[in-house]
């Protein structure tokens, strides 16, 4: 009965993981496809498409994407934590409404957001802001709800007794946030920032409207290419950048980023 359950659980886990990885496997397989059509024929393969990647055409957009994503994850991490802190921790007035509003940017299709931002900036005469700065700002708006939500979840779980302990030991608000709250909610913050990174790194619909000519991000480059040819280079681009970021995350996790060591501490 019990082993049945644990087998069942593992099967479920395996099922979900298969579900998650299946299309990726297809894409990966396609990236090794010898024909220029994206097909699923794992028995024939070639690595030649990866060779095509080492060119400015792919490297420059890749670097730009990484740069933007890093900035976005840091900035949205900081202001997202601040916002979640105000809303969930300090419980400011109308905090529930504030929370809903903070999540709102998620709910507007990006194409609308894109057009709206461009319209707005043009209207107030800030066209010069279009391009990478606007791209970063728009991505932050996009990523902020994720950060806020993840951090809010962490703060909801935070044991306020610890805060009291800090208080009685003479820590002022800033010190308590720095030394007690932040370390305790670190996994949530990191999760949020990871997603901010990914969201920015993969964004197409917003970016299409905001990129500056000559300075395009990787996904935009990909989608433009894709319009014309559905060939395995695409798959190879994706697989390569996926592996890169996966390595970064894996490293993060190994260093101890996402795992909490927090249990069994207070009674």
């Amino acid at each position: 009965m019990n082993w049945l359950l644990s087998v069942l659980f593992r099967l479920m886990l395996a099922g979900v993981l298969t579900f998650i990885t299946l299309p990726l496997a297809v894409v990966i397989a396609a990236s090794f496809s010898p024909t220029s059509a994206v097909t699923f024929r794992p028995w024939e393969w070639t690595a030649r498409w990866y060779g095509d990647l080492v060119s400015e055409r792919w490297l420059l957009p890749f670097l730009l994407s990484v740069k933007i994503a890093v900035i976005v994850s840091i900035v949205s991490g900081i202001i997202g934590v601040m916002a979640a802190y105000a809303v969930v921790y300090e419980k400011i007035r109308f905090s529930e409404a504030a929370m809903s509003v903070l999540l709102l940017p998620l709910s507007v299709p990006q194409i609308v957001k894109g057009v709206a931002i461009v319209l707005f900036l043009s209207l107030v005469g800030l066209q010069s802001f279009l391009g990478t700065p606007a791209l970063i700002a728009a991505h932050i708006v996009l990523a902020l709800p994720f950060v806020v939500r993840m951090v809010a979840t962490s703060i909801a779980n935070f044991d306020r007794n610890l805060d009291r302990a800090g208080q009685i030991l003479g820590a002022n608000k800033r010190q308590r946030v720095q030394h007690i709250l932040l370390p305790a909610i670190r996994p949530g913050v990191l999760s949020g920032m990871t997603f901010a990174f990914i969201i920015s790194f993969n964004n197409i619909p917003l970016s299409v409207f905001l990129v500056r000519p000559g300075d395009t991000t990787l996904p935009i480059t990909v989608i433009n290419y894709l319009e014309y040819s559905l060939d395995p280079v695409m798959a190879a681009v994706n697989v390569a950048s996926m592996i890169f970021i996966l390595a970064v995350i894996f490293l993060f996790e190994k260093i101890g980023g996402f795992s909490v060591k927090l249990h069994g501490g207070s009674k």
């Binding site: 019990n2 359950l5 644990s6 886990l13 979900v16 993981l17 998650i20 990885t21 299309p23 990726l24 297809v26 894409v27 997202g80 601040m82 916002a83 802190y85 105000a86 300090e90 400011i92 809903s100 999540l103 709102l104 998620l106 709910s107 507007v108 299709p109 990006q110 194409i111 609308v112 957001k113 057009v115 709206a116 707005f120 700002a137 708006v141 902020l144 709800p145 939500r149 993840m150 979840t153 909801a156 779980n157 306020r160 608000k173 996994p187 999760s191 990914i198 790194f201 197409i204 619909p205 996904p219 990909v222 894709l226 970021i245 996966l246 996790e253 190994k254 996402f258 909490v260 009674k267």
Partner: protein, 299 residues
């Protein structure tokens, strides 16, 4: 000195502290105002204009409610997003649980796998699903070859395909918010339940799930909103017969260039989400109040 002062209730305790917390909110508020609220305000303004005529008009709203297609698209969006939200949360929960609790060396691998789909672009992933689900796709091929079916199963170009595709897109977000929440639950509570004879399933049902409500709400909200505003996946996997608001909006923006009407649909979507997320946040807050009693915290 000798008069007994009535104690000040904690809520109005220090105005300074309150203003700190508003300050903490301000960068986000500023960002959202400039890059979200004002632009969206503009869109709302546009929704009341009629380009040809100029000036104020509710024509686009009239059209939204009367053309039949828009309201149908709205309902389709709600149903699809609801299904995705549920699927993501249900499928994500076991993975999140494993990630939150496991100390096995596979943990990091599973973690990476769970995030992996996010790292491949949406479009490409969707092609991946196409290759799998199409009439001439992987699944139908295998089933046909095995003789289990005689004609391809309708796996693509319908609600099913879109829900599958979107679930796949959103799943990592669900997993991460659930995981964050489950990690915050004291493991000794699980042990206590086990000691009282609760099976693994009961432990999850009676202890873990109720205590991870913030995470579940997060997961549902994030999934719902992401699904409802997603464009590429429904467009590619839903086919011509399955249009949701997001696809309809982008048609209006790009193809018909009818921005007032696009703005009306966007507003409808916004309203739907505002209601849903307020309900969600409110539910969570109620839950928290109930859980934490009248404010005193011990053990």
């Amino acid at each position: 000195m000798n008069t007994i002062t009535l104690a000040v209730p904690a809520a109005s305790l220090s105005p300074i502290r309150r203003s700190y917390s508003y300050m903490a909110l301000s960068p986000a508020a500023l960002f959202l105002s400039v890059f979200f609220a004002l632009p969206m305000g503009l869109m709302i303004g546009i929704s009341f204009s009629q380009e040809e005529v100029g000036g104020f008009s509710v024509e686009s709203y009239r059209r939204f409610f009367t053309d039949g297609l828009s309201v149908a698209g709205f309902c389709r969006t709600a149903v699809m997003s609801g299904l995705v939200a549920i699927a993501v949360t249900v499928l994500g929960y076991p993975v999140a649980y494993f990630l939150a609790r496991s100390r096995s060396r596979w943990r990091a691998v599973v973690f990476a796998l769970a995030l992996a789909p996010e790292l491949a672009g949406v479009v490409l992933r969707t092609y991946g699903w196409l290759i799998i689900l199409e009439d001439r796709g992987f699944i139908n091929d295998v089933l046909l070859d095995l003789g289990l079916i005689s004609s391809p199963l309708p796996l693509s170009k319908n609600l099913f395909a879109v829900v599958v595709g979107l679930t796949h897109v959103v799943l990592p977000f669900g997993i991460l918010s659930l995981m964050t929440s489950i990690q915050g639950i004291d493991e000794s509570l699980e042990r206590a339940a086990q000691m009282l004879g609760a099976s693994r399933v009961s432990v999850v049902r009676h202890v873990i799930v109720p205590l991870s409500v913030p995470g579940i709400v997060s997961s549902l909200l994030l999934s719902f909103t992401m699904a409802a505003s997603a464009y590429a996946t429904p467009a590619l996997l839903g086919g011509a017969g399955f249009k949701v608001l997001a696809t309809m909006i982008s048609e209006q923006v790009l193809f018909y260039v009818d921005w007032p009407f696009a703005a009306v649909m966007a507003n409808a979507l916004l309203l739907l989400m505002l209601v849903i997320s307020f309900v969600g946040v409110r539910f969570e807050a109620l839950h928290r109040i109930r859980r934490s009693g009248a404010g005193r915290t011990t053990a």
